[in-house]
Symmetry: C2
Subunit: 338 residues, 2 copies
């Protein structure tokens, strides 16, 4: 290999350390033959790749990328456009706005990966991705607390919920991590003058699994659409607006963590959610409480409720056990290999 | 929609211009049901996307990305790794080294796109991608010229070729654009002190399609492997070294442009080429000419040949007509829709 007639100086300098294996080029590969470029790529990987999972991933990826190109008879101009698009997606990504995460979200891939990793038996609350607005600094609070600081924009709301298992029993020692936008559709961390957490908290449920909190009815807001993902949505005739929602991560010992979001049925964009997180099972019918005597019972102070109503939002979360989820994952993995 | 209870201020500011359509959320979508996230994404696009080709591309892409995730039961950790990998690929790309082009090359996708866009009837010379080293400034030269400046590193070579059609007839008015590395595996533009083109030229073939040029036998060199693509190759057990080759773009009026490369059979890495461009049909058996009297006949000057030999490299390029290629493309497009 050190014959200078065979390899140039960049390779000669490396071959002290590495002598790559070569394979016979037994057949030519071309479209419309029984041995195509795809067969050749897969054969190379089967011959050289030592890690079974890496081989499994690359084999499936190559097979699907090639099938995509063949199905669409992808033109060279389209390929060039895709290369430029992906390059820009990388260049324009920041720690707070990753365009590949947004692309994955907008193609439903993130939702699918979530379902694959947290399969739910029928009857359990559906999950969805956490999105980019979770923070670690939310206060831990007893059930019945208020999560909204005085002066937070929006209408008053009380959320009344419970954490149950598939038998309908309340689960002990559950925590309900909540984070949400305010009545302007803005998260606390999006305000430049944020000093401490607002509209978020880790609520300790009661021993019977019930919990509640007082807060602000959230409104709808757009995902970032000033980059390549926004352009793709536009080309597809789609909008970037998420329906109004509250994020939750519910945890309890012995049960699979549930990360999800709930949506008020009055919100627009439920059927055209840009990240495919608005399943019908997560949509809630809210009611209004207009009786000031009831406001006090719900924990609101004198004069705290403006506009003459409190929105009442009720939901029971149903969690699978860790073992139920592991069983489902094993069954799915086996099925995917068939 | 301007009800502040429904949408936050970011959306209120936009809705003057845009009122996005909403769709009924008729069914929940989940794995193991007859209506999955994939169905929901595709239904949304069918409802909203107005451009047929964009719809075709996104539908195929979503279908294959989702199938990839299901087949492999993609973990959240793997998804996160992929997002970081792709983000780095964008950030580390430069005008001279695009990581997405390299990734596409190394997964055989570039070769496939080339075959899709330039299908060849049997008997025609196979094509391959041009790579990143083509320049516009190569001189136009008559057949028989030397492409290598005096002092170029490497062994002397003469290339003797012709441009023919499928009937075996020499094609008139053919040009053969050549670019290649030198005997160190280095292109002229990789030398910081390059003043003018070397080891490249646009050769005007003779009226009967024959042509020749004198030059330098190229050696093997690696594709850039200091970025994410290099890491992927390493994880797959692959090397970045391309076999020795000469690039050609052959053009003639009425015929489909042919971009390809030829390889000497003595080169290593023929069977493990990182960009899948080394088809067996493009590998040539070279001979040696050791008779100084023959060197002069081949156009070499007194004392120009060092090392006691000239490598003789022969190949006949066979081009399809534009109409033959268009016919194949139409047939393939029709087949891909079935």
């Amino acid at each position: 290999m050190k014959n200078p007639l065979l390899v140039g100086r960049a390779i000669r300098a490396q071959l002290e350390h590495e002598v790559p294996q070569d394979l016979p080029l037994e057949r030519d590969f071309r479209e419309d033959s029984d041995y195509t470029i795809t067969d050749h790529v897969q054969e190379l990987h089967r011959s050289l790749c030592k890690d079974p999972r890496t081989l499994e991933l690359i084999t499936s990826l190559v097979s699907h990328l090639h099938a995509f190109a063949r199905e669409t008879q992808l033109t060279h101009a389209e390929w060039t456009k895709a290369v430029k698009f992906l390059t820009r997606a990388g260049k324009e990504s920041t720690d707070y706005k990753n365009e590949f995460v947004l692309l994955s979200d907008c193609m439903g891939l993130s939702a699918l990966v979530d379902e694959i990793n947290h399969p739910k038996p029928p009857g359990c609350t559906d999950g969805c991705e956490p999105g980019p607005f979770y923070t670690e600094d939310a206060p831990t609070l007893p059930s019945g607390s208020s999560l909204a600081k005085p002066g937070t924009t929006g209408e008053s709301m009380v959320f009344i919920g419970s954490v149950k298992n598939l038998k309908g029993e309340g689960i002990k020692d559950a925590t309900v991590d909540v984070w949400q936008a305010d009545g302007d559709g803005v998260y606390d961390i999006q305000y430049p003058d944020r000093e401490e957490p607002n509209d978020r908290g880790k609520i300790l449920a009661n021993p019977d699994g019930t919990f509640s909190y007082r807060g602000i009815l959230p409104t709808a807001y757009p995902i970032p659409s000033d980059g390549p993902t926004g352009e793709l949505l536009h080309a597809l005739g789609r909008h970037p607006h998420r329906a109004s929602h509250i994020h939750f991560t519910v945890k309890a010992p012995g049960y699979d963590d549930l990360t999800t979001a709930l949506y008020p049925s009055h919100s627009p964009f439920l059927g055209t959610d840009p990240v495919f997180a608005t399943k019908r099972s997560l949509i809630c019918q809210l009611t209004e409480e207009r009786d000031p005597a009831r406001w006090a019972e719900l924990g609101f102070k004198e004069g705290e409720v403006r506009g003459g109503r409190v929105w009442v939002w009720k939901y029971d979360f149903v969690l699978p056990t860790v073992e139920q989820v592991e069983q489902l994952k094993r069954a799915r993995a086996q099925k995917s290999k068939q």
